[in-house]
């Protein structure tokens, strides 16, 4: 039952929200020890919130568009009085005194949080293996990773632990796990969703977005969390999107560009597997069949995204993660001086990938290296913005694979960080230029695991993206025998 059907059943009083939540909690109880999607299951609070929804329905009050819908929240978003860990030892014991704006908004929409989901520590990773609480497994094949860093949120929806979930996407952390778990995952335009209460990784790249099984559910959740927030200065001053009413408008006459550099084309990025390229081409054909005009386009700087990203994101992270110093909250490892205490705390509290990125970022910002590294990465961002802008003069949206491969085996890529980093090669450009992008499941790979294709659009093109995503979704289900 989709989140939207659940909500309407709860709103009409046909189903009790408490029953819905109990059903999901039972599934979590039965299977999460295997999957490890959750860092914390908030069963009591969820039942309480569900009871409040039922009470509102009984009292004839509007319980919100997502009434009684179980939702899982990535554990890097603050929840009042509920441990928020970023899957790091360094935040041990910390309970935020406030809610992230998105947490407030989903609650206001009537959704019920069932728990906080696992992630790569501080959202740094592409497999959810860099967690202080152990890896999350892909519910579709537990020998495989669910993707990352929002692997817990993806797994929670894929395993029916929750109807919806929220992830954060700094370089692909929503879209890539969505692709690996056969879900719809959306990274909105930078500034479309408030970051207030999201524990920062790369502040100029981070965006919160929805996971769901269908495009329509994704649209409904984005409508609920989007819109201006005065607490986030980078939040765009405009009302929440109207997406659900435009979903069925089709793609007749829409111009879709296949982005050569990210789709296995000549001069593009290497390592995109043949089955993924095939699915992407089939998705293009399906859109064309539905009335879109499909052309091949080129954005040469798209190939530079990965290098620029691995300077910008670590640089910002090195500064954002300075505050975890043992002084005010979380872990403290005592030592004889304040400085030594800070060092001891950070040494014990951060995992190896986080330390690697703090070092990378510190180096990239250092006097004498700034221009060669961070400064150059900023120039790449500017160049990419210009090139994407000119390509959007020709086409409405772009189509690429979401990830180079389907979900890989646990432990396969942990030895060499570079093999992990290239996972994000197709998703990173949207973060660097602040544009929206969605991953929609489209068939399966040679291994039978889902393949995701990605639709990219210019800033605030969410309605167009959701329109095309709906068409893709329809084509994918209509041609379920693809491959």
């Amino acid at each position: 039952m989709s989140a939207l059907d659940l909500a309407s059943a709860v709103r009409s009083g046909e189903r009790s929200a408490v029953d819905v939540i109990d059903e999901h909690l039972a599934r979590i109880e039965a299977r999460d020890s295997e999957i490890n999607a959750f860092n914390l299951v908030t069963a009591d609070a969820a039942r309480e919130a569900a009871a409040a929804v039922d009470a509102a329905v009984a009292a004839g009050k509007d319980p919100g568009p997502l009434a009684g819908v179980p939702i899982a929240i990535k554990d890097n978003m603050c929840t009042t009085g509920v441990a928020t860990t970023c899957s790091s030892k360094i935040l041990e014991g910390w309970e935020p005194p406030y809610d992230a704006t998105v947490v407030q908004r989903v609650a206001a929409a009537g959704a019920v949080m069932v728990g906080k989901t696992n992630l790569d520590e501080f959202a740094m990773g592409s497999s959810t293996e860099n967690s202080a609480f152990g890896p999350t497994k892909n519910p579709l094949d537990t020998s495989r990773v669910p993707g990352g860093s929002s692997g817990g949120s993806a797994a929670a929806v894929a395993a029916d632990f929750a109807s919806l979930s929220l992830g954060s996407d700094t370089g692909g952390s929503i879209r890539q796990p969505a692709a690996f778990c056969g879900l719809v995952g959306m990274k909105p335009t930078y500034g479309a969703v408030s970051r207030y209460g999201l524990i920062a990784f790369g502040s100029s790249l981070d965006q919160i977005g929805p996971f769901s099984k269908t495009v329509a559910e994704s649209a409904a959740l984005l409508e609920a969390i989007g819109g201006h927030d005065p607490l986030d200065s980078t939040s765009i001053d405009q009302p929440a999107f109207d997406l659900t009413s435009v979903l069925d408008r089709g793609v007749e006459g829409m111009r879709i560009g296949i982005l050569r550099e990210l789709s296995g084309g000549e001069g593009g990025v290497e390592g995109v597997s043949a089955d993924v390229i095939a699915r992407t081409n089939e998705a293009a054909a399906a859109l064309e069949k539905a009335g879109a005009i499909v052309v091949e386009v080129s954005v040469p700087s798209a190939t530079l995204g990965l290098s620029a990203y691995y300077l910008v994101a670590p640089a910002e992270a090195s500064s954002n993660l300075s505050r975890f110093d043992g002084v005010r909250y979380g872990l403290r490892v005592d030592a004889s001086t304040t400085g030594e205490m800070m060092t001891a705390t950070r040494t014990a509290g951060f995992g190896p990938e986080v330390k690697r990125r703090i070092m990378l970022g510190t180096y990239a910002l250092s006097a004498g290296y700034y221009d060669a590294f961070y400064g150059k990465a900023l120039k790449v961002r500017t160049m990419m913005l210009q090139e994407f802008a000119s390509v959007y003069a020709e086409v409405d949206l772009l189509l690429t694979p979401t990830a180079p491969t389907t979900a890989f085996q646990l432990g396969d890529r942990t030895a060499n960080p570079m093999t992990m980093y290239v996972n994000d090669v197709c998703t990173i450009p949207s973060n660097l230029i602040g544009h929206p992008a969605i991953s929609v499941p489209f068939g399966v790979g040679d291994d039978g695991l889902p393949v995701g294709v990605q639709l990219l659009g210019p800033a605030l093109s969410e309605p167009t993206i959701y329109q095309a995503a709906t068409a893709l979704e329809a084509a994918a289900s209509g041609e379920g025998s693809l491959s």
Binding site: P96, A100, R195, Y196, L198, A200, R328, T337, T338, Y370
Partner: protein
């Protein structure tokens, strides 16, 4: 040994630049809604943002930006589009372990400050930044590295500051002191800060070096911190300059470092050397948007700018011939408007200004108006009041006696000028009554004459209960003895 250190030997010239931090008197802090005020109870004026809790975000206080621009314009600066930057360093009272400040794109640049004597000091920049909390180190030597423990109060964290950086244009201790006084007067006049050095809302660091007189080189400078008053600033600069001269004289050289001024000991002690200073890894603050003041905003600031102290002094200078110090004092006390009004109302300008400087050094003089002051001065110049009486009447006017009306106050005391024939009758009578004294006045040596003038004046004052004009008495005695 003299109490006063002699000034520098004439072959050496002092070179000083000042960095002044000013707390802006906004209602709330720079990036959050916490009250910007002093509290004796630690950590009572704090929130997630100013304590740098994970997930919190800054929102720029527009009033603080306006105040900063006001100050910039008062210092003749250009206002530029600007960005906030992060200055990264670990310190427990810096909640995020970075300070949000301005680096290569400050709001205000290239201004100047004219001192009362006409000397112009260049202003390099006046940028916006946040204050840190306060750390108290307990035990050990009271410093961070040997304390038993340290306590941090974040009430001050996030208080808006402007740092005004002068060019190294200051050549004397007097000018350094005058610069700070002038800056304070401007801050008070434009109402952006209470500018109290003793309370820390204005903090002065001095960059001091010396060079051979006549040379235009800039030698190694030391930055003096912990200067808590204008007097202390003078002492610190003098001490430091002599220290440099002594080093050079001995064939040594100072090293570039931060030094701590010890007011009690009257000396500076070495702090951290600049060579092993932190690399602050500045980069643009991604959580805030650039500041882009419009020309309308700047025009509005200019239009609302009050007349500044320098112009106010010039206004009085044009109308009087008193010494500069008199005007400086009157303007500093904010009594120049009062003086100007009295002068316009026809009172003698020099008398008005000296009377105010000498006899209106009170906190509250609101009962004195330009009209009543003009009347008082006219009564004095017209001979209705003696100088002593005028002083007394002004004191009572300030206290609001008799509605502040000088005529009523004078009448209540029976202060009335004696007609000159009345005074002459009195003098004639005294000459008759005291023939011996009179002959000593007429025929004695200078000593006798002086003594006897005192005697006769005393007698007359006694007879008139002090109402006689001393100068008129002297004049009469002279006439009588000559005639």
């Amino acid at each position: 040994m003299t109490m006063h250190e002699p000034s520098l030997p004439k072959e050496w010239e002092l070179v000083v630049g000042l960095e002044v931090h000013v707390e802006l008197a906004t209602k709330t802090k720079l990036f959050c809604g916490c009250e910007n005020k002093f509290s004796h109870i630690p950590n009572t004026l704090i929130c997630p943002t100013c304590v740098g809790l994970p997930g919190s975000l800054p929102v720029m206080n527009e009033k603080a930006v306006e105040f900063a621009m006001r100050l910039g314009r008062a210092l003749g600066c250009e206002i530029h589009p600007s960005v906030m930057a992060r200055k990264n360093y670990f310190y427990p009272d810096m909640a995020k372990d970075f300070q949000t400040t301005q680096y290569d794109q400050p709001t205000n640049a290239d201004g100047q400050l004219a001192l009362a004597d006409g000397t112009v000091v260049g202003i390099e920049r006046a940028h916006i930044e946040e204050d840190a909390g306060k750390t108290t180190h307990v035990g050990g030597g009271g410093r961070i590295n040997d304390a038993t423990y340290s306590l941090v109060d974040y009430n001050r964290a996030g208080v808006p500051l402007v740092e005004i950086v002068s060019r190294p244009d200051i050549r004397t201790v007097e000018h350094a002191k005058a610069y700070v006084s002038e800056l304070r007067d401007i801050l008070l006049a434009i109402e952006v800060s209470d500018a109290k050095m003793e309370e820390g809302s204005m903090r002065v660091d001095a960059n001091v070096s010396v060079r051979p007189t006549g040379s235009d080189e800039l030698r190694t400078r030391c930055e003096l911190k912990n200067i808590n008053s204008v007097r202390s600033l003078g002492r610190a600069i003098e001490y430091e300059a002599r220290r440099h001269v002594d080093l050079y004289t001995n064939g040594e050289a100072p090293r570039q470092e931060t030094r701590h001024w010890d007011e009690e000991g009257g000396r500076s002690t070495a702090g951290r050397s600049k060579e092993d200073a932190d690399d602050y890894r500045y980069f643009q603050e991604p959580d805030l948007v650039p500041l882009a003041p419009t020309s309308e905003q700047i025009a509005e600031i200019d239009a609302s700018m009050p007349v500044l102290p320098a112009a106010r002094r010039a206004r009085l200078g044009e109308r009087s011939s008193v010494a500069d110090e008199v005007i400086v004092t009157v303007v500093e006390r904010g009594q120049d408007g009062l003086a100007l009004g009295a002068i316009e109302a026809g009172a003698d300008a020099d008398k008005v200004l000296t009377r105010i400087q000498n006899d209106l050094a009170v906190d509250d003089w609101s009962a004195v108006t330009s009209e009543s002051l003009a009347m008082l001065i006219q009564m004095e110049t017209g001979g209705e009041l003696t100088a002593t009486q005028a002083k007394q009447v002004l004191g009572e006017m300030a206290a609001g006696e008799h509605g502040g009306d000088p005529k009523a106050i004078a009448a209540a005391h029976g202060f009335e000028a004696m007609e000159s024939d009345e005074l002459e009758t009195l003098v004639d009578q005294l000459i008759v009554d005291h023939p011996d004294e009179w002959s000593r006045f007429v025929g004695g040596d200078d000593g006798d004459r002086k003594k006897m003038q005192g005697f006769f004046t005393g007698q007359i004052m006694k007879a008139t209960k002090g109402q006689a004009d001393g100068r008129a008495v002297a004049q009469l005695l002279g006439q009588k003895s000559a005639g």
